[in-house]
């Protein structure tokens, strides 16, 4: 029998990266009910509650406007949450179970790991977001005013959240930390982002705060893509998101490279 030899690879360990990506996708698919069926239903439920809660405005032009305003935010929310949960849950589970060693002992560079997590979270978000868009389109109707903006903002926001989820998992030492990051950071940032009400309708002191929230740029741009309405400058929003993506990717890469809270 021949002795095992090292598989040679060039600058990028494609097989290794593809293997990890396949595992991440399998984790997403194994929980298909929770990852791809419930989020669309929950989105429909939120929109229904808003539509029923309109009171006297129900059935009027103003009522339709309110619902049309809310829909894009609720839809993008499913992208955002799925992207963050996908990476945060997977990596933290590995850390707490000790199986992260299997990841760290493979010949995958920090850059490859970062890329795989980013790609995995983004893919999962799209796999959840598209059924949500279909479900909303079939029930409440969905317009596509600027398809490029829909795609660009959904992808940029999902990528940002995939990286955010990775950062959460790197930082967390127990499940309570995971809960804190989502309950105290992500959910508030998302809900207070012009998701349910135009930024211009908020108290004056709150407007600059919201305008500095990247999730607000994402929701506003996504809404621009669907309905054509924008409250913030769309181009700057996209540039800001891409910058945020780059900075977070840099942070994830340098932390993984140092083995921060992973090794030792």
């Amino acid at each position: 029998m021949a002795a095992p030899t090292v598989r040679p690879f060039g600058r990028v360990n494609w097989i290794g990266a593809a293997t990890l990506l396949r595992r991440e996708w399998a984790r997403h698919r194994k929980e298909a009910w929770e990852t791809m069926v419930f989020p669309p239903l929950l989105a429909l439920l939120y929109i229904t509650v808003i539509a029923l809660g309109l009171g006297e405005a129900r059935g009027t032009e103003q009522g339709r406007e309110i619902v049309a305003f809310v829909v894009p935010g609720v839809v993008l929310f499913t992208f955002i949450m799925r992207a963050a949960e996908n990476t945060a849950f997977s990596l933290l589970l590995d850390k707490l179970e000790g199986t992260v060693a299997d990841l760290l002992s493979t010949p995958l560079s920090a850059l490859e790991l970062t890329a795989v997590f980013a790609l995995s979270g983004t893919t999962a978000a799209v796999a959840t977001g598209i059924p949500t868009m279909v479900a909303v389109a079939l029930t409440y109707g969905l317009t596509l005013a600027h398809p490029w903006a829909v795609a660009a903002f959904a992808l940029a926001a999902s990528l940002m959240m995939a990286l955010f989820g990775t950062l959460v998992a790197l930082w967390a030492r127990k499940w309570d930390h995971f809960g804190a990051a989502f309950g105290f950071v992500l959910v508030p940032l998302t809900m207070l982002s012009g998701m349910y009400a135009p930024i211009s309708a908020l108290p004056g002191w709150a407007q600059p705060l919201l305008s500095a929230n990247p999730i607000a740029w994402a929701i506003d741009g996504f809404r621009y893509g669907l309905t054509g309405r924008a409250d913030l400058p769309v181009g700057w929003g996209l540039a800001g998101l891409v910058l945020a993506d780059a900075l977070m990717a840099l942070a994830v890469w340098s932390l993984i490279r140092r083995g921060w809270r992973l090794k030792g």
Partner: protein, 264 residues
């Protein structure tokens, strides 16, 4: 040295019941960020968001300012969801991990088992409810118009949801099953219960469906305790809550007694 002898007890194994209850309470207190703080923050966010989205500051529901109408319902929703989460997660995790035998082996009767779990769920529900109510009362008046209604509906609702969680947990063989119960039963029933709007304002068809939802009666009765105004009739609410709880107790005790999906 004496040989160990069985501890004697009378009709009720008080020490055993107390131990199970303490285990149920410690279980959620240990991860209080996720079980208390995060739900409270999320509820307050919902409050802010729905107030903004539905034009809460100026609107009235049946002569009551919308923000005062919304408060008690949101408190009740938080109580209900957390009471359910406590018993359901406890049972499902124990079943999946196999340590449910530690609960089934001790000399605890079906009633003692049921009480231990349900009281644990009520404790978490009430704790979340009190913290949320105090937080909301900092922003809008939460007058205690009929304290006995608040107490009755608060406890009965937590009991109802704890029982649902217990029953759902026993029925579930994996996490997907309990997630289905949460997403197809508990979340829709609680969102479409009249928390965010007055049932009277709904279109005819929806109003009829709303009156079939037990969650409507618990929220309506609880809210009556605060704002002194009801969408239904208070007497019906009291009876519906009592009967629903009785029926669920009967089912839960039957399951525990026969060992349905608990003992192979």
């Amino acid at each position: 040295m004496h040989s160990p002898s069985p501890r004697t007890y009378n009709a009720v194994n008080w020490v055993g019941l107390w131990t199970l209850y303490r285990k149920e309470v410690y279980r959620f207190l240990k991860v209080h960020t996720q079980t208390i703080s995060a739900p409270v923050v999320t509820t307050l966010l919902f409050y802010a968001v729905f107030a903004l989205a539905l034009g809460g500051a100026v609107r009235q529901v049946g002569g009551v300012p919308f923000l005062e109408f919304l408060g008690p319902g949101l408190v009740m929703m938080a109580m209900a969801q957390n009471a359910f989460a406590n018993t359901s997660s406890s049972v499902v995790i124990a079943k999946v991990q196999g340590n449910i035998v530690d609960v089934l082996m001790p000399p605890l009767s079906a009633l003692e088992l049921g009480l231990g779990y349900v009281l644990g769920g009520i404790t978490r529900g009430v704790l979340v409810g009190v913290v949320t109510a105090v937080a909301i009362s900092l922003f809008v008046p939460m007058p205690l118009s009929h304290p006995l209604y608040i107490l009755y509906h608060g406890v009965m609702a937590c009991m109802l949801l704890s029982l649902l969680g217990l029953i759902g947990g026993i029925w579930s063989e994996k996490f997907d099953h309990i997630a289905a119960v949460t997403n197809f039963v508990v979340t829709p029933l609680s969102f479409l219960s009249g928390t965010f709007y007055s049932i009277d304002s709904l279109p005819e068809g929806w109003r009829f469906v709303a009156h079939l939802n037990p969650f409507f009666y618990m929220i309506d009765g609880f809210r009556y305790g605060f704002i002194g105004q009801t969408d239904g009739t208070t007497g019906t609410g009291l009876i519906v809550m009592a009967l629903t709880n009785l029926a669920l107790w009967a089912l839960a005790l039957r399951m525990l007694h026969t060992g349905y999906k608990l003992k192979a």
